[in-house]
């Protein structure tokens, strides 16, 4: 009661109003703090997109006031500025494709391609993507040469056969070793071989006794 007597009602209302506004401001401030908090585990690895070596004039690159619009004549020499040159499609990629909220790009870059790109081969191939794919279009190259180091070098018509004919998962990136016995891929050929009747004669394996791997239809008899 004594307090009420010391603070006039009008001042009390003002005080309450001030307290409410202060609380709101404090809440806003705390909320903004929460928005700034993030980073968590990767906090020690620095900002998402380090700008500390950039020129002081933001207008060199940015246009407007939203930070999202870059100048039309914006150019950034990633190699010269960072020591990490970008080749192929990476040279044309948007900055935020790599420098984004997912985490520090240095962490992912050190993991090679799989740091940023999905391993569509699901761990079944090596992690040296660039030895089979171009960096520009991701088109594979040199498959026949690489296949030459396996137990089944691609010779004859096999060298001009689509991968999917033997590796059924090839179209979706799953390359598992295909069984090397001829019938695994040539079952239909075997069933159609009626002159002579291969199945009837029990000729269901060791096809290479008579057929050259260059083309199935050319049988050459062992003299």
């Amino acid at each position: 009661m004594a307090a009420n007597q010391r603070i006039p009602p009008r001042r009390r209302s003002s005080l309450l109003l001030g307290l409410a506004v202060s609380s709101l401001l404090l809440a806003c401030a705390l909320d903004r703090q929460a928005a700034l908090e993030p980073h968590r585990w990767w906090a020690g690895l620095g900002p998402v997109l380090p700008h500390d070596t950039f020129p002081a004039d933001c207008g060199l690159c940015h246009l407007g006031d939203d930070w999202w619009t870059l100048r039309e004549d914006f150019r950034f020499d990633h190699g010269a500025e960072t020591g990490v040159p970008l080749h192929g499609a990476h040279a044309a990629a948007g900055c935020l494709s790599c420098h984004n909220d997912r985490g520090p790009v240095a962490v992912f870059a050190s993991q090679g391609c799989a740091g940023c790109h999905e391993d569509v081969h699901r761990g079944s191939l090596e992690n040296t993507c660039e030895s089979c794919h171009t960096e520009q279009t991701w088109q594979p190259f040199g498959q026949v040469e690489r296949h030459g180091r396996t137990r089944f070098p691609l010779i004859g018509v096999h060298a001009v056969t689509a991968c999917r004919r033997c590796h059924t998962g090839a179209e979706v990136g799953v390359f598992l070793p295909a069984p090397a016995d001829c019938a695994a891929c040539h079952q239909a050929d075997l069933a159609q071989a009626l002159n002579p009747n291969h199945l009837g004669l029990g000729w269901v394996d060791n096809c290479d006794r008579c057929h050259l791997p260059t083309s199935w239809n050319q049988a050459e008899l062992d003299q």
Partner: protein, 585 residues
């Protein structure tokens, strides 16, 4: 002294007494500097220091604007050196000064100076705003910092930029800038669209192949205002294989490879969710039609779980037959994730009946320097319901260990593959005999060493074992680079393979040539093939291959790849033509 003369020159200036006081102060405060200026071989530049600048605006009349002004110590008449790419060092003078910018008049043409060109303004070393040179490692030489032309002033080491405010935790971009949350960002779309054609023609009657596709890949960032991303990848394709004495094998389909909504998993949000068709966090667990949750713990480890159907790894990606439930744990030693290990378990139900129990083990050690290692292992657990196999079986394993030294490198690779006994069609369909016996194991080592600049020796070898045979391979080659132009490469090599049905001995040459707007590759290979099991006079088959491919790409995101592989084998020949055009946006 130039700075002193500029400031203390004729005209209204400080009184003579003040000049004396200033001179005494300079003498007392800067003896080292005066001593340095008096030392031989120094001169004017010892009293000045460069301030890095950028060209902000360029006008045809020769007047440039730079991003530094009076607040940085720039004053009228200061000397400016600009280093446009590939045009040496150009000189100018400051003729106009604003607080944060300055106008520069060049002494020569400004045609080569584009916005963004780097340069220096030479200021008195003690000018306000001047940053202190630091003992930073020298920057790698680039086109932007060419050697000074004859007659130009020698360049002092460039000072490193100094942060005004040190970056602190919670400030994702520039110091002092507030983070823009993913949900506050404008919606954006990026992706690519492509058309591909592969056509194989042979002179073998009735044998050929065609594969045609039109595909797209889209990422929509923040599509619904919640900060997530929507991913699509799919294609419309048609393939037709011509087989002698058989009906053509043809198939046309619309395939959805990815259609997923992902949320979280950022620096700010430890939980990540994915819904739809996507590749799981542990790729070996496969594509999933369902949902996945992954959490990153404060210590950096991750764990998660998923539920959904596994599409079969065939062209159609048929789904809804194999229901999978999986969980994983990923350990990371520290923030860099250089050393990590994962274990995952997946239980599959084929048509609602218990089927596969799969354990995935993965490990990687990828330091920036030193030895690196990568390991993947798939272990199938067989229960009493499995008729053919029991216990544990390592059905797939791959190990790579490698290291690149400054002038040498070595890589060791090993893999093992067996086929698990499962009811679903998640692996190639095999007969029971094949399922029991089929296995492939291979180990190889590859080495390279620089013989001298632009010449590298390559060598490799390996061995393989399967259920009934074994064999080996070896190769040696020489790689020459930068012969005619930067980044060109010529490889010459010989190879030997002991295969299952064929032994091969041959040589090849390949030339990679960067061209304007693209790259070309020309390769030729000649091989003698000894077909195992034939008589000596009927088992040698020479084979030649000639391949040519070329990539073109533009800054607008268009790319075109064309390739032609011609194979001449025995008395027959085949030609593989490929065409791929893609637009990235």
């Amino acid at each position: 002294m130039a700075w002193a003369m500029h400031r203390l020159g004729p005209g209204p200036g400080p009184a003579p007494g003040a000049l004396r006081l200033l001179a005494l102060w300079l003498l007392a405060a800067c003896p080292g500097r005066l001593w340095a200026s008096a030392s031989p071989g120094t001169g004017v530049l010892q009293e000045q220091a460069p301030l890095p600048v950028r060209v902000v605006q360029s006008s045809p009349g020769g007047l440039l604007e730079i991003d530094r002004g009076a607040a940085d110590g720039v004053r009228l008449g200061d000397r400016v050196l600009l280093m446009p790419r590939g045009a040496g060092t150009l000189e100018g003078r400051v003729i106009e000064v604003q607080e944060r910018s300055a106008g520069v008049e060049m002494l020569g043409s400004t045609a080569a100076i584009a916005v963004g060109t780097r340069g220096e303004v030479w200021l008195p070393a003690a000018a306000p705003g001047q940053v202190e040179p630091q003992d930073a490692a020298p920057e790698p030489a680039t086109d932007a910092s060419p050697a000074a032309p004859p007659g130009a002033a020698p360049q002092a080491p460039k000072p490193a930029w100094k942060r005004i405010d040190e970056w602190r935790e919670g400030q994702p971009l520039l110091s002092g800038l507030e983070r823009v949350a993913p949900e506050d960002r404008p919606r954006s779309v990026r992706g690519r669209v492509w058309v591909g054609v592969d056509q194989i023609v042979t002179d073998l009657e009735g044998r050929g192949d065609g594969f045609y596709r039109l595909g797209s890949n889209l990422w929509v960032d923040n599509p619904f205002g919640a900060g997530g991303s929507l991913e699509w990848q799919g294609d419309l394709s048609y393939r037709r294989t011509l087989l002698p004495d058989q009906d053509d094998d043809e198939l046309g389909l619309l395939r959805v490879e990815r259609l997923a909504y992902r949320l979280g998993g950022t620096r700010q949000q430890a939980d990540a969710y994915a819904f739809g068709r996507f590749l799981q966090h542990v790729p070996a667990l496969g594509l999933l039609d369902g949902a996945e949750w992954v959490r990153r713990s404060p210590g950096g480890d991750r764990y998660g779980a998923s539920l959904g159907f596994l599409p079969q790894p065939d062209p159609q990606l048929e789904s809804a037959e194999d229901l999978a439930l999986a969980g994983f744990y990923e350990w990371n030693r520290d923030e860099t994730e250089e050393l990590s290990a994962r274990i995952a378990y997946q239980k599959t139900f084929h048509n609602w009946s218990a089927d596969r129990d799969l354990v995935v083990l993965e490990g990687r050690y990828l330091p920036r320097r030193g030895w690196k290692a990568f390991l993947t292992g798939l272990i199938d657990l067989y229960t009493s319901g499995d008729e053919l196999k029991s216990g544990l079986e390592l059905t797939q394993a791959r190990l790579s260990v490698w290291r690149d030294f400054s002038h040498q490198g070595v890589r060791f690779t090993a893999y093992s593959q067996r086929f698990p006994q499962i009811d679903g069609d998640l692996v190639p369909v095999l007969s029971l005999v094949q399922l029991a016996d089929q296995r492939t194991e291979r180990a190889s080592v590859d080495l390279w060493t620089d013989l001298f600049p632009h010449a590298r020796l390559l060598a490799g070898g390996g061995g393989w074992v399967d259920e009934e045979d074994d064999g080996a391979d070896a190769n040696v080659g020489l790689e020459l680079s930068d012969l005619w132009s930067e980044r060109d490469r010529l490889q010459l090599g010989a190879f030997l393979t002991q295969g299952k049905f064929t032994d091969v001995l041959g040589w090849r040459a390949a030339l990679d040539l960067p061209l304007a707007g693209g790259q070309a590759r020309l390769a030729y290979e000649y091989a003698w093939q000894d077909v195992v099991g034939f008589l000596d006079e009927n088992d040698d088959l020479p084979q030649q291959r000639l391949s040519l491919s070329q990539d073109w790409f533009t800054a607008e995101g268009w790319s075109l790849t064309m390739r032609a592989d011609w194979v001449l084998f025995d008395d027959d020949q085949g030609l593989w033509l490929g065409f791929f055009v893609q637009k990235t946006f």
